[in-house]
């Protein structure tokens, strides 16, 4: 059996696991509800008299802060708590198969959640004539951002047997990766840090790249940023699994 088939086996198991407990479903409903409410109410879709999904995308990072940890928290913590990690690691899988299978299952669930917001897109298309290219890039950016956050969440889930701890750690880590790009914080540190350092900090933040993509331009550097963060944390995830597996 090749690596793709092995990853697919793990993917199927992990994706199905989201439907055996009501938890993921509850988070999904909350996510969809909040997306709609925040887009129409807070975002002022009607008041601005402009048909686009900018408000919807603006709230995505914030919604990810609770949806993503809810999806990633169980990935490793649960296997470590119940001991099934020993089963997985003694079946003919490599750690890489497990890391990728689990990550892809969580990411697929997040992408399904995102796809279920399509009625919002249809609504703005019906209300006016939005720039569909910008919206498409917005969706791609949201999916990439969720992927990066999920990789971080999966990585942190491997440190603990407790899903609640994994949830909190992931939420905090993703929040930190967001705030380091806030103008407020960057203005604050620019007083005593050299310009290049401030720019480096900004370049590390998801917000910088997410907002850049929200302008509707598919810039290779932004895509590369999300892909690199995801790959780096998945790599680290494998190392932590090996390190913590027997504890």
């Amino acid at each position: 059996m090749n690596s793709t088939a092995r990853i697919a086996t793990i993917f199927r198991r992990e994706f199905a696991a989201y439907f055996t407990s009501p938890l993921a479903g509850i988070f999904l409903v909350i996510y969809l509800f909040m997306s709609a409410v925040l887009t129409f109410q807070m975002g002022g879709l009607y008041e601005r008299g402009q048909a686009d999904l900018r408000p919807f995308f603006q709230v995505q990072p914030w919604l990810d802060l609770f949806l993503v940890p809810a999806l990633s928290m169980r990935l490793w913590a649960e296997d470590r708590r119940t001991g099934t990690i020993e089963l997985l690691l003694t079946l003919p899988f490599s750690v890489r198969d497990l890391v990728l299978g689990k990550f892809l299952a969580a990411w697929a669930f997040a992408c399904v959640a995102l796809a279920l917001t399509a009625p919002l897109w249809i609504t703005v298309a019906w209300l006016g004539s939005p720039d569909h290219g910008t919206i498409l890039v917005g969706y791609i950016a949201s999916a990439l951002m969720a992927g990066a956050f999920l990789a971080i969440g999966a990585f942190l889930s491997a440190f603990t047997k407790n899903q609640v701890i994994a949830f909190v750690l992931s939420g905090v880590a993703c929040f930190l990766l967001m705030v380091i790009g806030f103008p407020m914080l960057l203005d604050f540190v620019s007083g005593w840090l050299p310009r290049t350092a401030v720019e480096a900090i900004a370049a590390m933040s998801v917000m910088t790249h997410f907002e850049s993509m929200m302008r509707g331009v598919l810039d290779g550097r932004d895509v590369l940023y999300f892909v690199s963060v995801t790959a780096a944390f998945l790599f680290l995830n494998g190392i932590v699994v090996e390190w913590k597996k027997a504890e």
């Binding site: 198991r13 001991g83 079946l91």
Partner: protein, 257 residues
């Protein structure tokens, strides 16, 4: 007979604590090896090294001719493993869980179904096949773990306390199964029930504090008991070999030589 498990010089340290201190184990096909020892002796740690869950601090493991460190995935196909406590996915039904294991072992479609059915039949799990694993009693959970381990008919079986939590009837059935499986396979099972060794094993290895203190047939183990010990003879030998209050001094001397 073909040597299916060849473990040499296994050592495992956790920080500064050395749990396994140099164990050699060569198990040919047709042998059922009973791995005995008091709690904390290093049985599970050794089995985890045999199955590649833990990397040995020192030593090598070769399974059916494949060195575990060289090709872990190929080596992992050669054995079925029941980890301590028989971990399984609680949110799956018995047949779903076994189907997951079948897929993990590369079976699909009709072949996967046939494998799952046969495993369910061999462990008498038919009435429970649609039950969620988390709702199974301890004994049936252990049987599900065994069903998972034998699903692909591996030449090697590593079973960590396979009869723990089973009632006397279930124990009897599982021992019968293991004995049958052991006809043409290498089986290593850990236990702290001495009668189990007499009932199913062709070889007994006792470890204490990470070292082998006895390696021989169950009969030879029995013979070590003094002639005047008439009841629980094996228990007596076990205590003699693994504690310091009876005959411990001579063991320490023997081990340090």
């Amino acid at each position: 007979m073909k040597e299916l498990i060849v473990a040499r010089g296994l050592r495992k340290s956790f920080g500064s604590f050395e749990a396994v201190r140099g164990i050699d184990l060569i198990v040919p096909a047709g042998q059922v090896l009973g791995f005995l020892g008091p709690n904390g002796a290093g049985k599970s740690t050794t089995m985890r090294m045999l199955t590649g869950f833990l990397e040995p601090t020192e030593g090598t493991v070769t399974l059916n001719g494949i060195q575990l460190a060289d090709d872990p995935i190929a080596a992992k196909r050669t054995f079925g493993y029941l980890p301590e406590g028989a971990p399984a996915y609680g949110d799956m039904r018995v047949e779903e869980f076994l189907n997951f294991v079948a897929r993990s072992r590369g079976y699909t479609g009709a072949e996967a179904r046939a494998r799952v059915d046969r495993s369910i039949e061999r462990l008498h799990l038919e009435p429970y096949r649609r039950q969620l694993v988390e709702t199974l009693s301890k004994g049936y959970k252990r049987r599900t773990g065994l069903a998972q381990a034998i699903l692909h008919d591996p030449p090697i079986l590593v079973l960590d306390e396979p009869t723990d939590g089973l009632d006397p009837n279930q124990k009897h059935e599982v021992r019968e199964l293991i004995r049958r499986l052991g006809d043409d396979r290498a089986v290593v099972l850990s236990t702290h029930i001495l009668e189990e060794v007499e009932a199913v094993c062709t070889r007994a290895v006792i470890i204490s504090e990470g070292r082998v203190v006895f390696d021989g047939t169950p009969k030879a183990l029995d013979a070590k008991a003094a002639a005047n010990v008439t009841s629980n003879r094996l228990d007596h030998v076990f205590r003699m070999l693994t504690t310091s209050d009876i005959g411990g001094a001579s063991r320490t001397k023997a081990a340090s030589q």
